[in-house]
């Protein structure tokens, strides 16, 4: 019985965190893009536009949800849900940290037994394959949306995305297979456990450092394929606005449009988590604890606090003189909290995990702000004449090395 309750609680927590993260990921993207382009970005709603996502959600909900007359109704309705569904499912098998154990709590009548649970919804021992399969299904949403909108731009977008996703699934799968050869397990938890420890005491045993240098290559391949799988710049052909208006979601408005948006960001998050788990050692710190890796979060927090105070010295808006110090104090408080071992120990893994994932997400945004878009034939040629052969050769060489070392 406790299992069910715990599971439900975990699911609720994960869902909440994920959805908030999605909303704020979008805010982050706008901010980073803005700074890349020397703009300021959202700033009006809340301090530094921190409430912008809320405003967006309200706007999207309250917009009129109109349905074009010429669409194929069933699928037109179905598509966004499919997209969101298959982008949300994979998060279920992604572990965020090690075991979390809470002591038994007695509050008079209420009695909660001691609980020890993994920071993960479920640990399939075919987790990797599961994610591959589900993300493979994600294409239906886009394809159906494109087809059912009964509009040539959308149709082209749908066709493009389906072809593109099929093409890039191969190199992606192979790039994933290469590290698995060394780790030889398919359960994410097992994979992360296989990356614990350090070479020569300082270099972490992450996958990318393991079968040098082939896993680095497969990591790069994986990231490229991930960009294509999530239809992000420079591979966002399905929604290339200057060719196809808005591609597969031309005909969608309000929440349905938001659903596609959410699906895209959710896919980004999932892929970043997978990359973190497969290649960047999951929640293992980048350098050993005796070099003080456990103090790093506190340091970062403190640094952020100091930064806030410095900004408060020369405020961009009059209000900042009061808001920024508050934020700074909050940061300092957090830094202090992270010095308490009882809190730090369980939280540390999550910190590292999300830090790595955030780095990859930042790369996503960075690339979007930097690179131009491919042409469609270039995209396909790149997939089949560069990615695929390289992935095959890389897989082969990795296997060779692993076999020789075994």
């Amino acid at each position: 019985m406790t299992f069910f309750i715990v599971s439900i609680i975990k699911a609720a927590v994960v869902a909440f965190v994920l959805l908030t993260a999605l909303a704020y990921l979008q805010w982050l993207e706008r901010k980073v893009l803005a700074h890349i382009q020397l703009r300021v970005g959202p700033r009006r709603v809340g301090p530094h536009g921190l409430l912008q996502p809320l405003a967006d959600v309200i706007k999207l909900i309250t917009k009129e949800d109109m349905m074009p007359s010429h669409v194929n109704k069933v699928f037109w309705f179905l598509a966004p849900f499919i997209a969101v569904l298959f982008s949300l499912i994979p998060i279920a098998v992604i572990p965020f940290g090690t075991e979390l154990s809470l002591p038994a709590i007695n509050l008079g009548p209420v009695h909660i037994p001691a609980i020890t649970t993994a920071m993960q919804l479920t640990d399939l021992n075919i987790g990797v394959l599961f994610i591959l399969g589900i993300s493979g299904l994600g294409v239906y949403g886009v394809a159906l949306a494109g087809w059912s909108s009964n509009n040539k731009y959308s149709l082209l977008g749908g066709l493009r995305s389906s072809a593109q996703m099929i093409s890039y699934e191969l190199p992606m799968a192979m790039a994933i297979a290469a590290p698995l050869l060394a780790l030889n397990t398919l359960s994410f938890r097992g994979i992360v456990d296989g990356q614990a420890g350090f070479f020569f005491g300082f270099l972490p045993k992450w996958t990318i450092f393991q079968v040098f240098p082939f896993n680095i290559i497969s990591f790069i391949l994986f990231i490229i394929a991930a960009f294509a799988e999530t239809n992000r710049v420079p591979f966002d052909l399905p929604e290339a606005e200057n060719e196809l208006v808005a591609g597969f979601h031309t005909e969608y408005g309000s929440m349905k449009f938001a659903a596609f948006f959410m699906a895209e960001y959710c896919n980004m998050v999932t892929i970043s988590c997978v990359a973190t788990l497969l290649f960047l050692g999951g929640w293992h710190p980048p350098f050993p604890a005796q070099y003080g890796s456990s103090f790093l979060p506190s340091l970062v927090m403190a640094g952020a606090g100091v930064l806030c105070f410095l900004h408060a010295m020369s405020p961009a808006r009059p209000l900042d003189r009061f808001t920024l110090p508050v934020v700074g104090v909050a940061f300092f408080a957090l830094a202090g909290v992270f010095l308490i071992p009882a809190v730090a120990l369980p939280l540390m893994p999550i910190i590292w995990f999300s830090a790595k994932a955030l780095v990859i997400l930042f790369v996503y945004i960075w690339v979007r702000g930097t690179l131009p878009r491919f042409r469609y034939d270039q995209l396909m040629r790149f997939a089949w004449t560069f990615m695929f052969p390289v992935a095959v050769v890389n897989l082969f060489l990795t296997g060779l090395v692993v076999a020789l070392m075994a």
Partner: protein, 165 residues
């Protein structure tokens, strides 16, 4: 629990299968087929076939059916209209019923009383086992299949080159 899951997914499979047959639009048929495949994947998991379940999702639902949908969109095939009737149309139903009856009879009577399916009893379906069997006992078939795939790819390219460009 197992029974419940079986019921649910079997129901999904059957409903989607019927839908496949009765729907007039290829796209709906394709999607219902995807539904069948998903349900079957779940049933495979119940039967302990982890790898096959995943492969079902990746290969069938993720690749083959996407290809179908792709082609359907490409040809933009509309709903079908009444064609002239062949004798098969009349002979079909009785034939099917006879077939169904015979096999059902075989399953019901001829099969020995089979034990219940309990989830987790059969553990040989893990990727490890499959891989071992695939690369030791079934190595030659495996390689031959790879050749087959290669030939299929070449054939598909040769056939369809002029269409898609």
């Amino acid at each position: 629990m197992d029974a419940l899951l079986f019921m649910i997914f079997a129901a999904i499979a059957v409903v989607c299968g019927i839908n496949l047959v009765v729907q007039t639009h290829p796209i709906s048929s394709a999607l219902s087929l995807v539904g069948v495949m998903g349900a079957l994947a779940a049933l495979y998991l119940l039967l302990g076939g982890e790898f096959i379940a995943a492969a079902q999702l990746v290969v069938y639902a993720g690749a083959i059916m996407v290809l179908f949908v792709f082609v359907i969109m490409l040809l933009n095939a509309g709903t079908e209209h009444k064609g002239h009737r062949t004798w098969a149309k009349y002979a079909g139903v009785p034939l099917l019923l006879v077939f169904l009856g015979i096999i059902a009879n075989l399953i019901a009577n001829r099969l020995p009383a089979s034990e219940n399916v309990v989830f987790g009893q059969f553990t040989k379906g893990s990727p490890l086992e499959i891989g071992r069997a695939l690369f030791t006992t079934y190595l030659l078939p495996f390689e031959v299949t790879s050749v087959l795939i290669l030939i299929a790819i070449l054939g598909a390219i040769v056939l369809a080159r002029k269409e898609i460009d």
